[in-house]
Symmetry: C2
Amino acid sequence: MGFLPDPRSSRTSTGVASLFLFCCLPIFLVQSSTAGVIDLKWTVEYMHWSPDCIESVVIGINGNFPGPTITATAGDLINIELTNHLHTEGVVIHWHGITQKGTPWADGTASISQCAINAGETFVYSFTVEKAGTFFYHGHYGMQRSAECTQTRQEVDLSGVPIRFIGEPQAILINGRGQYACSAAAHFDGKAVCSPKCKPEPLKVEPGKTYRIRLASTTALSSLNFMIQDHKLDVVEADGNYVERFSVDDLDIYSGESYSVLLRTKEDAKGNYWISIGVRGRDSDTPPALTILNYLPTEWEKHPNSAPPVHPKWNNYTHSKSFSNKIKALNAPKLEGYNYKPPPEKQNRRILLLNTQNTIKERIKWTINDISLTLPSTPYLGAIKYSLDKAFDQQSLPDRYSNPDYDIMVPPLNTAAISSSAVYNLPSDVTIDVVLQNANMLKDDHCEIHPWHLHGHDFWVLGYGEGKFIDAEHEGKFNLVDPPLRNTVVVYPYGWTALRFRTDNPGVWAFHCHIEPHLHMGMGVIFAEGIEEIKKMSINKKALVCGLTGEKFMDSYKE
Amino acid sequence: MGFLPDPRSSRTSTGVASLFLFCCLPIFLVQSSTAGVIDLKWTVEYMHWSPDCIESVVIGINGNFPGPTITATAGDLINIELTNHLHTEGVVIHWHGITQKGTPWADGTASISQCAINAGETFVYSFTVEKAGTFFYHGHYGMQRSAECTQTRQEVDLSGVPIRFIGEPQAILINGRGQYACSAAAHFDGKAVCSPKCKPEPLKVEPGKTYRIRLASTTALSSLNFMIQDHKLDVVEADGNYVERFSVDDLDIYSGESYSVLLRTKEDAKGNYWISIGVRGRDSDTPPALTILNYLPTEWEKHPNSAPPVHPKWNNYTHSKSFSNKIKALNAPKLEGYNYKPPPEKQNRRILLLNTQNTIKERIKWTINDISLTLPSTPYLGAIKYSLDKAFDQQSLPDRYSNPDYDIMVPPLNTAAISSSAVYNLPSDVTIDVVLQNANMLKDDHCEIHPWHLHGHDFWVLGYGEGKFIDAEHEGKFNLVDPPLRNTVVVYPYGWTALRFRTDNPGVWAFHCHIEPHLHMGMGVIFAEGIEEIKKMSINKKALVCGLTGEKFMDSYKE
């Protein structure tokens, strides 16, 4: 059974502005030997909706918010014919966690893997799913993942002089439903004053059974903590990869991550229990999202006997780190179809990425080794395929931050930061280490959590550490035995996170903080992997009818 | 001297939503024998602005709202290199009143003359201006002319089930400045509590002189009336065409129209006078926009001695019709460079367009002869150039409404209305009459003013009438001697308006109500003029890199 608490932050603290996440239910993939073809037709459009009981204009799919769930079998080919019915905006959808081997043009990242699909036009995403797991999809153009018409305001606010913070969310959504203007209790009491579109979806269970709960966080800003009152959760999957089972009372989940947990229901339950999702890592007054673990045959509207559970304090990083460190790859070599391999023992290249905030042309930007990512109008994939060097900046990017004595505990000095669309070129068939180095922000004593997501790959999480990463000191302590495979990993305040992957998937892949405002402000890098292979690959030209690739096609047409 | 009261409706009655018109100052063209080239670089972007004293996010050009004024000489070639810095939206700019002879791809109409310019991309508009006059430019994609992020909400509201009216504007802007949250008096008193961005711009004059005032209305919804307290206005130009001079106390101006008026200042003025712009044709509580006719050396902040002038009552159509009927072409055959010709005496084809409201698929639409215009994703101009019949509906459209006994005084019966992207095919070198027939809306006893704008042409306004147009009864009364040339003309409630033009400009031209919500709801038709000539014309391919034309270019590229 699948139940998806899909925690999304909603509604900024400004009151009039709403912050909804475009997208949606995940893709459930199960292991099977018979691969098939799944053909879907989707229409993307703005519509009136009331996800948190206040009506807004949100982007939906086929008239619904969140969009449809895809249930598929490992090996299936999925074809999604997507028609853009927005009025003046382009759109793309990213299939988060799908590696897109052989189909890098289907990754759904505007300016990177494809041109945005123009309003009124149709584009067919076509890709094979490699393995069972829990994945999800979302917009990946501008800040459309936070789509409501307020995304434009947020984009302008964040790019403004001076910058304006977009505000904490006013509600968190579970499966697209949350409460802002209307309390959960109002729903539970059967009062009809709330929109049915924000009515909580209870998780109905029977006593003495085991349930698999699939979780994914698509938040724009918030990090989350998931709890079920008076129940243990056994973590078994992370980002579509099995992990060695472990039991927790609560689970941190960062934007871009997914988990499966097993829930063993009580034999002797009397009544219902709270399911609660609270904010982590930010001192936010966003109330936890609530719904009900409903023990049948009890009515779901019956309130639990006690108050909702209390989440760990927002800045209890010890608790969070303890959770992160429990996640290990499943050691089950004999499990059919399971093929976990530990990482290569040596890397061929290590890229150390220091994130700081810097002021560039009067605007506050996030920078990585002093470079803030700006995306070009021609997709990188097409620019590289056709060797269009003018499509993006051609400088080479540094594998290290320039000052080895940089003090991560103090605000940056803002020396030579620039904006650039340049990329990291990664050759094929090598082992890459990336070490994320967190540091103090512009404000004294401020450093945030950043969940970084890699497109096109899972990676092994080799370890986390405090303070500055020192190669000689820390690489010897990497976990090379059973590091978990993930596509998203967190870097903690004033700390570092090390990961490793093999360049076995030619394409152009974004690696970025999954917090939407941070990416908008430049917190990401682009890996151009296997350039020679890309030039020889068959790329769907329909993904490239814009910018300089569009002009190249145009120029080839002779009347 | 040029002074441009640029009246734009702003801020809907919903309080949080703002309705700003994207675009801007007009193009002033003066007669001259030496033609030149004017090269401009413009960047379009969202920005924080406070046009009516409340801060909003508006679309500006080169960091300003309204955008820059272009001053050119008849015969000049204008090249505008337009870069779209919106985040996820396409953009186009229409050069309202410029006929684009030989450059139909530069008309700036998304889906009609070109593909929307993608976010991040640059497009060069290049066209020659034919004659002196007062013109203006504005967005022509979705409802971007009303751009703020609320345009999306307005688009969804108007397309919703049930429909939601967007509300009357809360303020009217003069040269991009109006007062909603801050009274004009607060500015005049020199109080610093209002944003400088909404500070009224006074018209500074000296006694005993004659000034030319250029007026253009770019409103989304409102019809306007312009007055200067205790001063006469001599009308001399309409839509870039000279008219026989006549004198009025106030002047109606509908969205899409422009005028020049001559103002003779008093010899003995003591102090300042009010300039006021009020709403016509709608029972709106929008207050008039005010600024000051400032007689130097009086300080402009000095209030006039009496209250602002009172505009004619909103529904005093007798007054409005009297004004319309005064407009005649200038009879000055010996004026150098002036070449007014009266219309051909006979038409080759008359198209009678009945506008009604109808419900199509549960949505309220405006229909023309029972057809509601929907725009295709491939621009018509490219589809016709390359004979791509699948790009738009190929049915032929009726030159008459189907029921000759249709009663225009009662709500429509909503029989067989449909949505369609079909066009009227007009051969070259013929004389076309169009008669606009107004009729009752869905609600009893309701019929609105509609200012219709034709792209690619000026037309002769042959006459206005009450009730139903009957060919045999009315065509004999057409003014064929000195009908004014216009590009926009109003049709009054329960009446008709007749116009005539020669098909001397191959291209695809929209003809539509200039009220932005009405066009969004389908109130327009498309004239495909000179199809055979279009197929042979040189069309800027860069205007066509989208939809089926984009695919055609793509398919021509062989690796």
